[in-house]
């Protein structure tokens, strides 16, 4: 018994010791940089939000943890932020997610102070196909959402993308990505609106 323990320690002491040393090294690095990493994440979100609501000077978390059904029976939690300008609410922002062509798409969506019109959306994370699906982040497709009413949106194959209504013209060659964005908005707009009404933030 004693011999076995001795043999075990003889063979594995280096592994055990270095696990502790490396673990300590990682803990030190993490504690030194974790603040900065958190700050970067928050900075990216508020950066995207202020790109959408350009006249806002401050973003405040208003309703935390809103549960939204993103897929049949699957729920995701999101936070609603209010965009403030001189103490007045000028808009609402929230993070939304859904399944894209390659992987999950995460968007930041902004709507106006009465939650009647969408101000626009920005892509937080996506890995859509370069040259096709990644056009959701810019180009005519993204512009179609600037001013769209917060009602149920429909995707159409062809139409005039200049007319701002709830018909969204798809990107040719990227139907799945185009549909994904429309679905994300359809999933989120209604529950968010209801939550805001419940909290008395909109009429």
């Amino acid at each position: 018994m004693f011999k076995a323990i001795k043999e075990f320690i003889e063979k594995s002491w280096l592994l055990i010791v270095s696990s502790f040393v490396f673990g300590l090294l990682l803990a030190m690095t993490n504690s030194a940089w974790s603040g900065k990493i958190e700050q970067n994440k928050a900075g990216k979100l508020s950066g995207l939000m202020s790109m959408l609501v350009t006249n806002a000077d401050k973003f405040e978390a208003a309703v935390p943890n809103v549960r939204v059904e993103v897929n049949k029976g699957k729920f995701a939690a999101t936070d609603i932020y209010t965009a403030m300008s001189n103490g007045q609410i000028v808009g609402f922002c929230f993070k939304a997610e859904g399944t894209g062509f390659a992987d999950k798409i995460e968007l930041v969506i902004a709507a106006d102070a009465n939650f009647e019109k969408i101000i626009g959306f920005n892509v937080l994370t996506s890995s859509e196909t370069p040259g096709f699906g990644d056009k959701i982040a810019h180009s005519f497709y993204n512009d179609q959402y600037k001013g769209t009413p917060t009602e149920k949106l429909h995707l159409v194959k062809s139409g005039d993308d200049k007319i701002i209504d709830n018909e969204i013209v798809a990107i040719s060659g990227a139907t799945v990505s185009s549909t994904a964005v429309v679905n994300i908005l359809n999933n989120y707009l209604q529950p968010i609106k209801e939550q805001l009404k419940e909290k008395g933030l909109i009429k």
Binding site: K11, S12, L14, L15, S18, S19, F22, L25, L26, T29, N30, W33, K36, I37, N40, K41, K44, T125, S127, T129, P130, G131, F132
Partner: protein, 201 residues
């Protein structure tokens, strides 16, 4: 020991005779995945250089203490530690780049170049040789990644480091930024390397 190297061998090994990507065909995952443009390729190359340097030195320091059947475990543990540090560094100081590279930073752990150098060089040679070997291997890897990425970025977007260099009417070849572009470019580069060395198939 039979496998000891000289400093000269270590330098020429990493930069040409054992050039990781083109001669040993090791480390294919980042080579194919992050070379759609030059910036991520350069960051990936430098991250690998950092991890390779640190792991080679640590492995070289403990080479006389290693038990043969536990050595792979020790290598992986060492590599994983430094990869995590590199990942945290990118997240803290280069958040955008960290997002572009995504899971591929973590995947440096299973990059064969690093474990191969730990096994073939650092566990048999002193610190000095191991450090030189790591630097030359890392630089060789970075250069190949950057060449591959420049070709792909120029053809797929007409830019290098985000700076437009192609003529105005140039039509971007979208395929070059997709995996197919990586395979084709890498294949042609491997062919060129074989031509230069006169290697018979």
């Amino acid at each position: 020991m039979a496998n000891t190297m000289t400093a000269k061998q270590a330098i020429t090994g990493g930069l040409w005779t054992e050039l990781p990507v083109l001669r040993l065909v090791l480390g294919m995952c980042p080579t194919l995945a992050v070379t759609a443009s030059v910036k991520p390729a350069l960051t990936m190359g430098l991250s690998v250089l950092f991890v390779l340097f640190c792991s080679n030195i640590v492995v070289s320091l403990m080479r006389n203490l290693l038990k043969p059947h536990l050595r792979i475990l020790m290598f992986t543990l060492t590599i994983a530690t430094f990869v995590t540090i590199a990942d945290l560094f990118l997240k803290a100081f280069m958040p955008q780049m960290s997002e572009v590279l995504g899971p591929y930073v973590g995947l440096i752990i299973v990059n064969c170049i690093i474990i191969a150098r730990a096994e073939a060089c650092a566990s048999k040679n002193g610190i000095f040789i191991s450090a030189i070997d790591a630097i030359s291997m890392g630089i060789g890897f970075t250069i190949v990644l950057c060449i591959l990425a420049s070709i792909r970025e120029v053809l797929s977007a007409g830019t290098i480091f985000g700076v437009h260099i192609m003529w105005k009417s140039f039509v971007p070849w979208t395929a070059m930024s997709l995996p197919v572009g990586a395979f084709i470019t890498l294949g042609l580069m491997l062919g060129c390397a074989n031509l230069l060395t006169g290697k018979k198939s």
